[in-house]
Symmetry: C2
């Protein structure tokens, strides 16, 4: 592992769409929390987290490309992470898992691809944390990737984003059920996870979206019922109810320690450690082309960060397009605002198909 | 109380600067957490929370004005609030304190001023929550105030700000030491207060300020020492250490229940309940003039809210100046960026002195 420690064995879960034909491989790196199930397929017909983006005739077209999405190293949807069993102890890793870096995710994926006989990638697509992993991959394995699509990501996190993620991690650890990280897997610190998710939601969406969507609308309890939450300080506004329901949906779906390792990895990542210079770029990057997308309402990865990334890629010799989208949904827009994202990503991928 | 319940007796703590000469009274309403000690005086030489703004020769000039700052009803620095003793039970109010509204703070202050023989105010100055209280006062007692200075405030909170304050309150209540609000006063839920303060700081300051101030600078532990915080997820970045020190400074200085009542009051306030209309203003407001200040980097009370407030005051017949300041310090700028705030407030107050 980049920051010390060894994983004696690693499994990575992945899904694929389309067929391999020569060098038509497109790898998708995910954000912090999704699984490898980006889209439905015959083997798993449930809708995926990027259902409108991946599949036959979709922007990342499985009629054209062999699309592979990995569950990140360190996550808990089939890939090795803190919730996995350490073969040397027979117990789950928990907080004995080594410090995870974005580069470790890229490295593990590279080795998994090699196992699959894939050494050259036509394109990598990565939103959010996945954009960091995609960039790390290009920097660590130059010449093995031709095209990059980076969405709502950055060369490195800024201190405001670090502060917000650091606080999310602390909210989980402040739950007594976290037990210093040694909770039983079946007894997750759900109260802390719920709070962390609520804070996360305030950073993933935008003030503008919530102004239009919720305004100051109040929760209307059923007749005879009182407002939900604490009697003295109840949930009164619809935005509070929304956060509550989003938090409820999240807990039980993610391991608390895995969340912390992945969150910390985002803070630690810095393209400068790979010799990327904001002024001069990186002459060894060897990308043919890149599409960089940013969203004007993104408070977590503000759009000037994508602009800076696009500048670096351009100076590194990649033919780079930069799209600045006015989506309302902030950092989450790539999951929601299909009207804007589908044509931009679809248009770029179509050019790569030729 | 506006939303039900009765306080059988009320005390309000206040401090004054300068001497009453006719109708030269200037009242300062505070933000959520300050005391009445806005500035030093012969009776209390400690620097106040607005030391550079209040005093002889200062922008709010005590050589000219009789300046009065109240500790808000509901707070815990001498005024009646949840930490006060309920005379009917002999115990602290705690969560049995009635729901607090911004209007209750204005009402209590109005009655305190009447006790002091003051019925006409030359001006009211209010930053943040204090701006809401100042506006409520003008709306509830029209014709008793001539001039208003409203800083980084709003006609009503927006859902993003509500979400962030709601979460801060929940962080306090999630601390087992909160005990359903029935903690002993000497045993505050300090862990929850610390987390709430950290979250507060991410909303009071700006991403831009932290980018320039901290960047990605790392905490450098002393030789032989490890990083502070959790072994697996330590505090690594200076911005995390800054939040920690600000949180440590806050706890012990504020009662947890008082914090929740005041925070909730900010969410509840809505000038529309007093007949204020964004398009038409409020014909009964009867203010002669107003200064409204907003800060471009304020994410909690975004500057378009001050612009809207200025528009309403103008339509209500007040000669209104709107100042949009490019301060880096976000919502807290009025406490920090004296270079910009002193001339703007000083200039307006000088005109009132004539």
């Amino acid at each position: 592992m980049r920051r010390g420690g060894v994983l004696p064995e690693v499994e990575l879960a992945y899904e694929t769409w389309g067929e391999a034909r020569g060098d038509n491989h497109v790898v998708i790196f995910t954000g912090l929390s999704p699984s490898a199930h980006a889209a439905s397929s015959t083997r798993d017909p449930d809708p995926g987290w990027w259902e409108n983006m991946v599949g036959p005739g979709k922007p990342i077209d499985s009629d054209v490309f062999h699309v592979i999405c990995f569950n990140s190293l360190g996550s808990c949807f089939g890939s090795t992470g803190a919730a996995s069993f350490n073969p040397e102890t027979g117990r789950r890793w928990g907080v004995d898992f080594p410090t995870l870096s974005i580069e470790d995710i890229a490295q593990a994926t590279h080795e998994a691809l090699r196992e699959l006989g894939i050494t050259q990638l036509h394109a990598i697509v990565g939103p959010s944390m996945g954009g960091m992993t995609a960039l790390a991959y290009c920097l660590m394995f130059p010449g093995t990737v031709r095209h990059l699509v980076s969405i709502s990501s950055a060369l490195a996190a800024e201190p405001h984003a670090i502060a917000l993620r650091s606080l999310q991690r602390e909210l989980i650890r402040s739950d007594p059920a976290w037990k210093g990280g040694r909770y039983a897997f079946e007894e997750q610190p759900v109260a802390g996870m719920r709070l962390a998710r609520k804070l996360g939601m305030t950073t993933y969406r935008s003030a503008q979206e919530w102004r239009e969507r919720f305004g100051r609308a109040r929760i209307q309890p059923d007749p005879g019922e009182s407002l939900p939450g604490d009697p003295a300080f109840p949930l009164r506004f619809e935005v509070e109810g929304y956060l509550q329901s989003r938090a409820d949906r999240f807990v039980g779906a993610f391991d608390a320690n895995c969340y912390q390792y992945l969150s910390q990895a985002m803070d630690l990542f810095d393209a400068a450690e790979h010799g990327v210079d904001a002024e001069r770029g990186h002459p060894g990057l060897a990308l043919e082309s890149a599409l960089v997308i940013g969203v004007e309402t993104d408070a977590l990865f503000p759009v000037h960060q994508q602009e800076a990334l696009a500048g670096v890629l351009r100076k590194s010799g990649a033919k780079t397009e930069f799209e600045r989208l006015p989506s309302l949904q902030g950092h989450d827009a790539f999951l929601v605002d299909m009207e804007r994202f589908v044509p931009v990503i679809g248009g770029f991928m179509k050019k790569l198909a030729k």
